[in-house]
C-alpha cells in the first residue's frame, strides 16, 4: 500500500534545500563583522543594531549614543604630516550626533556625513599637505588636518560647527554607497562594526539605510538586493 519514491523525492528535496541553506549560513552569515560581543569595551552597545531581527529592515545605528573620540579636538591647522595616497577616515563628531567619513585618493577627497535618520551630505574637494577641504552642494563644509594619523577638523552646517577627530578605517570599516535608478544609499561602517547610513529612494523618501553586509558589499532595500561599492577620494559623488 505504501510507495517510497515520493519520500525519496521529498528527502532529496529537503537535503538539497538544507545543503543550500547551510552553505549560505557558512558563506554569508547574517552578521559578519558586527557581532555585539566583538565590540571593544567603551563603545556604546546601542550603536550596533543587533536587535534588528524583528524589524523588516535593520536600521542604521542610532546616533547620539556617545562619542567614541575622547580626545580634545583642535581646529585644523597646518599639518606637518602627509596624507596617505589612499585612505578612508571614519568616526563621529564630538557630540556623537553625526557620523563622518572622509576618503582620500591622491589630491582628491570625498566625505560623507550622516545622522542615520534624516540628514546626510556628500562633500567633495581636495587633499594635500596633510589637509582636507571638501564641501557639499547644500553648503556643508569640512576642513580637517592630519595629526598623529588622525584627521581632526570641523564640519560646518549653516551657522553650526561640529568638531571631529576620526581615525583611519581598516576594512570592512569605511565608506560605501549604492546608486541605482531606484535609490541612492550611503553607509559609514565604523571600526566597531556599527553602521550609519541613509537610503533615499527615487520618490524622494529618506530612511535609515538597510544593513550592509560589508564583506559582500550587499544589502536588501525594500526586498530587492542592492550592491554597494566602496567610496574612494576620486569617486564622483
Amino acid at each position: 500500500m505504501r510507495h517510497l519514491s515520493p519520500l525519496v523525492t521529498l528527502a532529496a528535496a529537503v537535503l538539497w534545500f538544507a545543503a543550500l541553506l547551510t552553505t549560505d549560513f557558512v558563506a554569508h552569515p547574517a552578521h559578519p563583522a558586527a557581532a555585539p560581543s566583538a565590540e571593544p569595551a567603551g563603545q556604546p552597545a546601542s550603536a550596533t543594531p543587533s536587535a534588528s531581527l524583528s524589524s523588516t529592515y535593520p536600521s542604521a545605528s542610532p546616533s547620539g549614543s556617545g562619542s567614541p573620540t575622547p580626545r580634545v579636538s583642535i581646529s585644523p591647522k597646518r599639518s606637518d604630516e602627509e596624507l596617505p595616497t589612499k585612505a578612508v577616515y571614519v568616526g563621529r563628531t564630538q557630540d556623537g550626533s553625526l557620523a563622518v567619513a572622509i576618503a582620500v585618493l591622491g589630491d582628491r577627497a570625498v566625505a560623507y556625513v550622516c545622522d542615520g535618520r534624516t540628514r546626510e551630505a556628500w562633500l567633495r574637494g581636495s587633499a594635500g599637505h596633510g589637509q582636507v577641504s571638501v564641501g557639499s552642494r547644500t553648503g556643508w563644509v569640512i576642513r580637517a588636518g592630519l595629526h598623529d594619523n588622525r584627521l581632526r577638523g570641523t564640519l560646518q552646517v549653516s551657522e553650526r560647527t561640529s568638531r571631529f577627530d576620526v581615525g583611519q578605517a581598516k576594512p570592512p570599516a569605511g565608506l560605501y554607497r549604492s546608486r541605482t535608478a531606484r535609490a541612492g544609499i550611503g553607509w559609514i561602517v565604523l571600526p566597531n562594526g556599527s553602521q550609519v547610513g541613509l537610503a533615499t529612494t527615487s520618490d524622494g523618501t529618506t530612511s535609515a539605510a538597510p544593513r550592509l553586509n560589508p564583506a559582500q558589499r550587499a544589502a536588501v532595500l525594500n526586498g530587492a538586493p542592492v550592491s554597494a561599492e566602496p567610496v574612494d577620494g576620486n569617486t564622483d559623488v
Binding site: M1, R2, H3, L4, S5, P6, L7, T9, L10, A12, A13, W16, F17, L20, L21, T23, D24, A27, H28, P29, A30, H31, S52, L53, S54, T56, P58, P210, R211, N213, Q216, A218, A219, V220, N222, G223, A224, P225, V226
Partner: protein, 218 residues
C-alpha cells in the same frame, strides 16, 4: 498514443506507482464518485493520513515563514553557476520551473483521465518533470528565504512571501500523500492543483513583476 477518455479505464490515480508497476487498471473510477468522502469506495478511503500530511505541510509552511521573518536578510546567498545576476536568474529559473509545472498539469490530468492522453510514459514524465521542477525551484526558494526573507513592504511581496511558504508546505504535503493509495480520490487532484496554482501565483508575483519592471532581460 491518444484515445477517447473513459472513466472506467483511467490509469492509476496515484501518480508515482512503484517502478516496474506502471498501472493498476480498474482501481478507481473517479468519474463515478466525485468528491468522495471517507469510507465510501470499495478500498477503504481514509482521511486521517491526509489530514496528518496537511498538518505536517502546514507546520513546514509556518516554520518557513517564521524563519524568513526572524532571519536577517543578507541580500546575498550562495551563487549557483550563473547566479551572479541574482534576480534575473531566479526569474528565469522560476519560468523554467513553471514550464515543468505545466507539464505536471497536463500529465497529471491525463493520469486522472481528464484529458485524452494515454501511455506508459505519462507516469515517468509526471514524476520526473515534478522532480526537475522541484530541483529548480529549491535554489530560488533558498535564495528568497535566506537573502530576502519574509517581507511585507508591499502587497506583492507579502502575497509572494505567504505563498512561497505555503508552496513548500504543500509540496511536503503532496509527497506524503503520494505514499498512500487509500486517500479519498479528490485529494490528489486538489493538492496537485493547489501546488500548480500557487506556482503560477508565485511566478506572477515575482517573475512576471520582474519582467514588467525590468523587461525581458537575462
Amino acid at each position: 498514443m491518444t484515445s477517447i477518455p473513459s472513466a472506467a479505464g483511467s490509469p492509476n490515480p496515484t501518480d508515482p506507482p512503484p517502478p516496474g508497476q506502471p498501472a493498476q487498471p480498474g482501481l478507481a473510477a473517479p468519474g463515478a464518485h466525485p468528491a468522495a468522502g471517507p469510507g465510501d469506495a470499495t478500498p477503504a478511503r481514509r482521511l486521517g493520513p491526509v489530514l496528518l500530511a496537511m498538518g505536517i505541510g502546514a507546520a513546514v509552511a509556518i516554520g518557513t515563514g517564521v524563519f524568513g521573518r526572524l532571519h536577517t536578510a543578507t541580500g546575498i546567498a550562495v551563487n549557483l553557476a550563473g547566479f551572479s545576476s541574482g534576480l534575473a536568474v531566479k526569474t528565469w529559473l522560476t519560468t523554467l520551473a513553471l514550464g515543468f509545472g505545466i507539464v505536471q498539469l497536463v500529465t497529471g490530468m491525463a493520469i486522472l483521465g481528464r484529458i485524452p492522453l494515454q501511455g506508459a510514459w505519462l507516469n515517468p514524465v509526471h514524476r520526473w518533470s515534478g522532480r526537475i521542477a522541484v530541483a529548480i525551484v529549491i535554489p530560488v526558494a533558498a535564495h528568497c528565504l535566506y537573502a530576502l526573507g519574509f517581507q511585507d513592504f508591499s502587497i506583492r511581496a507579502l502575497v509572494h512571501s505567504v505563498l512561497g511558504c505555503f508552496f513548500l508546505g504543500a509540496f511536503v504535503c503532496k509527497m506524503l500523500i503520494l505514499t498512500r493509495e487509500d486517500s479519498p480520490s479528490w485529494v490528489l487532484p486538489v493538492v496537485g492543483g493547489v501546488l500548480f496554482s500557487v506556482l503560477v501565483a508565485l511566478w506572477c508575483t515575482a517573475a512576471l513583476w520582474f519582467f514588467l519592471y525590468r523587461g525581458l532581460i537575462l
